[in-house]
Amino acid sequence: MKIHEYQAKRLFADFGIPTPRGVVCRTLDEVGPAWDELGKDLCVVKAQIHAGGRGKGGGVQLARSGEQAVEHAAAMLGKPLVTHQTGPEGRIVRRLLVEEGLQIRKEFYVALAVDRSLNQPVLIASAEGGVEIEEVARERPEAILHEPVDPREGLFPFQARALASGLGLEGDAATEAAKLFQGLARLFATFDCSLAEINPLVLLEDGRVVALDGKINFDDNALFRHKELQELRDRDEEDAAEARAAEHNLSYVQLDGNIGCMVNGAGLAMATMDIIKVHGGEPDNFLDVGGGASVERVTEAFKIILEEENVRAILVNIFGGIVKCDLIAEGILAGVQAVELKVPLIVRLEGTNVERGRQLLRDSGLTIRTATDMSDAASQAVEAAG
């Protein structure tokens, strides 16, 4: 689960991580008073959406007067913001964070995530802040500091000091930064984060160290023990079809092609997308109906796929292992009958009782094309989608 920058910064504050003073505005009327409340001669108006690249997309603007702040706000609120992460349609900006402007001396990059090779969280930091960290990692890997975080003890003080020193910080700023790193590690462990990123962390002209931006992702599998995080969820930021699929325990990802896919198992679902591509087609979606492929799930899956207007054919690929193919065929038939199917349906069944399953599909009187194997299914689907 992702949250907004302003929400991440509130969590930062709870863990002793300094952030700029700021006011969240949901309407234009709130922007003027926000300027007055901050009482500075410079502020930053920041669009709050769950996507990176806001600055380049025009979603972060400096204002030197209340009027200017309102102007910027008017250009953003209620309008789509396009960044390299949103797709061409962009995301509607529903909230702004109006923050005090600060005198920045230096920018750093700081992030905490689980390193899959080390099987533990690693805090990484770089003195090359405010840029794409992937680029730094590729071109100057030595410019990135790593400190593995002990899963039971957290980040040790000596590690935090080493990071601060490695970033070239001195005196009180180094002490403040070290405290901040430990706070970030505590936050990460407390809320089962999958990512906690500060980009940039800044050293100010007055010597303070402040999180100028903040991004936190939570591990969905751990949300059951963090009920308090539920209220941070912003459904407006989630893909409607993906969210609906999740409610039915379906795993769904929207893609750009025109062949709808319904598959049991995530690996087989990815492989089905891949084989469509091998045959010259483009998958419309990733959809895993789960190992069981029950009638209820199959029906819901058909509905979700058919809501996509550009779907020209549907490919169902089920490997019936423990769940037998005749039961799966019944599920498919019930699903087809529950929705109005206007595009060709290609079904590839394999596994236990496959002949009975195929027979059921053939005898149904519905125009279902059965395929003998994955290749056959993919080529039929690509042909049908034109």
Binding site: Q85, V114, R116, S117, N119, Q120, P121, I133, E134, A137, R138, D150, P151, R152, A189, D192, S194, D219, D220, N221, A222, F224, R225, S251, V253, L255, V263, N264, G265, A266, G267, L268, A269, M270, A271, T272, M273, D274, I275, I276, K277, V278, P283, F286, D288, G291, F319, G321, I322, E350, G351, T352, D373, M374, S375, A378
Partner: protein, 290 residues
């Protein structure tokens, strides 16, 4: 021959809910020795002739169980694995999907000085055809033979096994290592065992996007296993970056974990990488004909 499990395996089932019961019967029907089950508070009773214990420690003491098959729900699963390790179980197979990543991180630290091997979580389990089925895979699609299978997937593994068996290519042992970002045995751990196993002549490796386990496997194969052919397929070549594809671990993040990088690394190591998942069986048949 085979690795890790066989007719000798004595299995305790942890978590006797509906799924645990169903799959435990299926395993037993296949011929696996299910010698015990654990269910806190139900110790002393039995289920279909299988004695139930409160703890894994008690189950192991009474039955000599050496392998554990875990169906405990996600919030309690890491603790169940810890319990198995503490009881001295040699191999823990965790089927459970949805264990929090940091639970797995803490568990891995706990297991570091234990001798217990962990397979999974979020996996179909492990199977030695004709020997033991310890997991949720359909037993009948397998055939005894000499091809080892290692995979991060469930149904895609069944697909690969099916393609092999259809061509009369049997399997020594099939291991689903699971689709989570932090897991027990990885590709290299399994490859080490297959490389040393006289009964395994070749290996099918099924990877997917996310992480770098396939790259690490490629480096290991190049160094240590030039003598056994490997056929690989990497799922997710068409997956968009930044999107989790069903498995918690199947995500291209920060430019790493791409299928093309994994394919290239494996090809560099001399592995036969197929672009189409329908060609796994035929590619292996060709390798074996050489």
């Amino acid at each position: 021959m085979s690795i890790l499990v066989g007719k000798h395996s004595r299995v305790v089932v942890q978590g006797l809910g509906a799924a645990g019961k169903f799959h435990a019967s299926q395993c037993r029907e296949y011929g696996t020795q299910i010698v015990a089950a654990t269910k806190p508070g139900a110790g002393g009773s039995e289920w279909e002739g299988i004695p139930i214990f409160d703890t894994v420690r008690a189950a192991r003491a009474a039955t000599g169980a050496d392998t554990s098959l875990i169906f405990v729900p996600a919030p309690y699963a890491a603790d169940a694995i810890r319990e198995a390790a503490d009881a001295g179980i040699g191999l823990a197979v965790a089927i459970t999907e949805g264990i929090p990543v940091l639970d797995m991180v803490r568990l891995k630290a706990y297991l570091a000085d234990k001798s217990t091997r962990l397979i999974g979580p979020n996996c179909p389990g492990i199977m030695t055809p004709g020997g033991a089925k310890i997991g949720i895979m359909p037993g009948y699609i397998h055939k005894p033979g000499s091809v080892g299978v290692i995979s991060r997937s469930g149904t895609l593994t069944y697909e690969a096994v099916w393609q092999l068996s259809e061509r009369d290519i049997g399997q020594s042992t099939c291991i689903g290592i699971g689709g989570d970002p932090v897991q027990g045995m990885n590709f290299v751990d399994c490859l080490e065992l297959f490389a040393a196993d006289d009964g395994t002549a070749a290996v099918v490796l099924i990877g997917e996007i996310g992480g770098s386990a396939e790259e690490e496997a490629a480096a290991w194969i190049r160094e240590h296993m030039p003598h056994k052919p490997v056929v690989a397929f990497i799922a997710g070549a068409t997956a968009p970056p930044g999107k989790r594809m069903g498995h918690a671990g199947a995500i291209i993040a920060g430019g790493s974990g791409k299928a093309e990088d994994k394919q290239a690394a494996l090809r560099d190591a001399g592995v036969t990488v197929v672009d189409s998942p329908a060609e796994i069986g035929s590619a292996m048949a060709q390798e074996l004909a050489h």
